[in-house]
C-alpha cells in the first residue's frame, strides 16, 4: 500500500500543479450476498475494491472498463448516491475546508450535494415524464430554497439557453424531445446549482453519432465556461481519448492503470489496457487491426481469481501472476498494477 500512496502523492511533472478537488483513498464497496430467511451472508460482491485516485480541479478524469468493473459504483460512491463500505473520499470545498464525503451525513451531506451533480446514461428513464422542463431543471433550485416564480423561471431559461435549448420550451414535457435534447435537459439540471464536480455516467452512449458529437462539444464548452471538473465514466475508448485529460482503467473492482490520456493510449502499461485498445473497431478499413483476441469473460466479482484478477485472460501471465496479487506501482508517470509492467513492451494505438 505504501508505494501506492506515495505514487499518488507524487506531483505530475508534465503539467502545471492544479488544486486537488477530490482525493479518493482506498475506496471499497462490497455488496453482501445473502441466503435463506435469516439473510445469512454467504459471500460478497467486491464491486469496488480498494480504489485510490485523485481528481484535479478543472480536469476531466475518465473511468473506463467493461461492464461489471465497478466504474459506475465508484462514480455513485463519489456522490454518496450509495454508501461506500470503507475508504475516504476527500473533497476540497474551496474555502480551505476538506470534507470526507464517505463520512458526512444529514445536513452537511445535503449542503455538499450543491457541489456535486450527476448526468445519467439513459435520457429517457432519467427524466420524470410527468414534469415539465421547468419542474425538472428547477427542482434542484427549489430543493435549495429558491421560491417558484419569476426568478426561478429566469434561471431555468438561462440554463436551457446555455445547453442550446430554447427557453420557450420550459413548459413542455420530456416526451416532446429527442434523445439528444433530453440529454441536454439532464445536463441543464446538473448545472442548475453551479456544481464544482459533475459525474457523467456514460452520458453519450445512448445517442446517435451526430448528436453524440454535439453533446461532447457542449460538455467541453461548458467545462471551459464554468470551470467544471468532470468524472467521465465510459466504456467507449475513442470518446474517452477525445474528452479526458487522465484516465483510470478498472478491472473487477480494482484500478489497474492510471495515467494521462495520451500516455495511456500510446504506451499502455497494463495488458488489460492493451487488450481494450486493440478491441476498439477503428473507423478505417486500411488499419488491418491485429486484434489481440482476449479470451473469456470478465471475472465474477464475487469470486475474484487469486493473484492478479486479470491472469486467467492475460496472454503474458506467468506463475507469479496466479498467486501473488500485484500492487499499484509508479512507472514513468503511470500507475500500473502488473508484475511484468517493467519488462513488457505493449502496443498502443497507431
Amino acid at each position: 500500500m505504501n508505494t501506492q500512496a506515495e505514487a499518488i502523492a507524487a506531483p505530475d511533472a508534465t503539467r502545471p500543479p492544479r488544486r486537488r478537488l477530490l482525493d479518493v483513498r482506498h475506496l471499497t464497496k462490497h455488496y453482501p450476498i445473502t441466503k435463506g430467511i435469516l439473510r445469512r451472508e454467504v459471500g460478497r460482491v467486491r464491486a469496488v475494491d480498494d480504489v485510490s485516485f485523485h481528481v484535479d480541479e478543472g480536469e476531466t478524469l475518465g473511468l473506463v472498463g467493461e461492464s461489471g468493473c465497478g466504474k459506475t459504483s465508484t462514480g455513485r460512491c463519489l456522490l454518496r448516491a450509495i454508501d461506500p463500505t470503507s475508504g475516504e473520499i476527500l473533497f476540497d470545498r474551496g474555502n480551505g475546508e476538506v470534507v470526507d464525503i464517505a463520512k458526512v451525513d444529514g445536513r452537511a451531506l445535503k449542503s455538499l450535494r450543491r457541489d456535486m451533480q450527476m448526468v445519467f446514461q439513459d435520457p429517457f428513464s432519467s427524466l420524470n415524464p410527468r414534469w415539465t422542463l421547468l419542474d425538472i431543471v428547477g427542482e434542484p433550485l427549489v430543493a435549495f430554497g429558491m421560491k417558484p416564480g419569476r426568478t426561478l423561471e429566469e434561471r431555468v431559461a438561462d440554463l436551457l439557453q446555455r445547453v442550446g435549448l430554447r427557453p420557450e420550451y420550459m413548459h413542455r414535457y420530456p416526451h416532446a424531445f429527442s434523445g439528444g435534447e433530453r440529454q441536454r435537459i439532464g445536463i441543464a439540471r446538473a448545472l442548475a446549482l453551479n456544481p464544482k464536480l459533475v459525474v457523467a455516467d456514460e452520458p453519450v452512449s445512448a445517442l446517435d453519432v451526430s448528436v453524440r458529437a454535439q453533446t461532447l462539444n457542449l460538455l467541453e464548452d461548458l467545462q471551459a465556461e464554468l470551470g467544471l471538473t468532470y468524472v467521465f465514466i465510459s466504456h467507449d475508448l475513442s470518446v474517452v481519448q477525445h474528452i479526458c485529460d487522465r484516465v483510470v482503467v478498472m478491472y473487477v473492482g480494482q484500478v489497474v492503470e492510471v495515467t494521462e490520456t495520451n500516455r495511456l493510449f500510446y504506451t499502455p502499461r497494463h495488458p488489460y489496457t492493451e487488450a481494450l485498445l486493440s478491441a476498439v473497431p477503428k473507423p478505417d478499413p486500411d488499419l488491418i487491426s491485429a486484434h489481440l483476441p482476449l479470451k473469456g469473460e470478465v471475472a465474477d466479482p464475487s469470486r475474484v481469481p487469486p493473484g492478479c484478477a486479470f491472469h486467467p485472460r492475460c496472454p503474458y501471465a506467468v506463475d507469479r501472476c496466479r498467486t501473488v496479487e500485484p500492487q499499484l506501482e509508479s512507472l514513468d508517470g503511470t500507475l500500473v498494477r502488473c508484475h511484468r509492467a517493467r519488462e513488457l513492451s505493449l502496443r498502443g494505438v497507431e
Binding site: V209, A213, N217, D284
Partner: protein, 352 residues
Amino acid sequence: MTEPSSRDDLLLEVKDLRTGFALREGYVKSVDGASFNVRRGETIGIVGESGCGKSITARSILRIAGTNDDRLGGEILYHRRRGDGTSGVVDLLKLPSNGRAIRSIRGAEIAMIFQEPMTAFSPVHTIGNQIIEAIRLHQPLSKDEARAVAIDMLRRVEMSNAESRIDAYPHQLSGGMRQRAMIAMALVCRPQLLLADEPTTALDVTTQAQILALIRQLKTELGMSVMMITHDLGVIAETAQHVAVMYLGKVVETADVRSLFRDPRHPYTRALLASVPKLGRESGQRLNPVKGMVPSPFNRPVGCPFNTRCPQMIPGVCDRAMPAPTTVGATHQVSCFLYGDTTTSEPGEKAA
C-alpha cells in the same frame, strides 16, 4: 433459368423499397425508395442513425415488417439456389407474409440476429429447446438428432461446456454468451444470408471484438452473405466489403468500404465521418458534427432528405427534387446534386 454471368454472384436485390406505418397521426414513411444489392459471400454494411430505416429494411426482407402496409412498394429479388441444384428468382415482397413459401425461407435461408438477445429469446424456454425448435421447423430430424446438431453449433460459436449450457435459460448466460447462442440459432440451418441488426451494440468492446471475429469466421466457413446493420462506423470498417449509407429512409451513397472511408462523396457521409472521435493521433481535435438533428418522419423535407442540415445545400435545387444515384467510381454511387448529373426524380416518382 439463364442469367447474365455478371449477375451470377447476386444474392439479393433490393429495388426501390418503400414501406411505412399507418399511425393515428398519419402515415410514416420509414423506408422511402431504398435500393442496394447483396452479393454472395459478401458482407454489406448498412449504416445510418436511428430512424433512417435500416432495421425496417432488414425486417422487410424477412417479411416481418410492413405486412399490413397497403403502400408497400418496390421489389426484393432473392436469387434462390436450392439444395437440388435448381435456382430461381423470388420477389419476397410478393409472398404472403405468413405463407408457406416465406416460412421456408425465413430462418432457414435468410436468418436474423438482433441487438438485445435477452428480448429476442423466450425467457421461459432453454436456449437448447429454442435452437432445436428452429432446426426441426426446417429439417426432418428427430429431437435427439436435432439436439446433437444444436450442441455442435454451440461448439462452433465457441460456447464452452456446450453440452451443459444447452439446457441453460437465457438469464443464466452473460450478454456475450447469449449473443453466441443467438448466432448459433440463426446459423443452425446454414442460411445464405445473415441479417445482423446491431449485433454488438449492447456488448463490451472486448466481447464485441470476439463476436465480430466469430461472425467473420463463420461467414467464411459457411460461405454466407452478411448484412451488417449498425450505426458504428468502426464496425463497418472492420467487417464490411460494401457499404450503403441510409438517411431518412433513402440510400444516399453506396460504395466499397475503402472508397467510402477514403473518398466519401455525400455531405451526410462526410458529416458522419467527421462526427466520430478517432482513436489515435488526430484525437482531441474539436468534433465537427452535423448541425441540427434528423427531421421528424412526419415532417420530411421536400427534395433531398438531407437538405435541411446540409452545409452545401443548393437553394432551389436540393429542396425541389430528389437527386438520382450518380456513378462516381467503379463501385461507388451517390445521390447528390453536387455530382454533375442533373437528372432528377420527383419525390414519390419511381427512380430511373
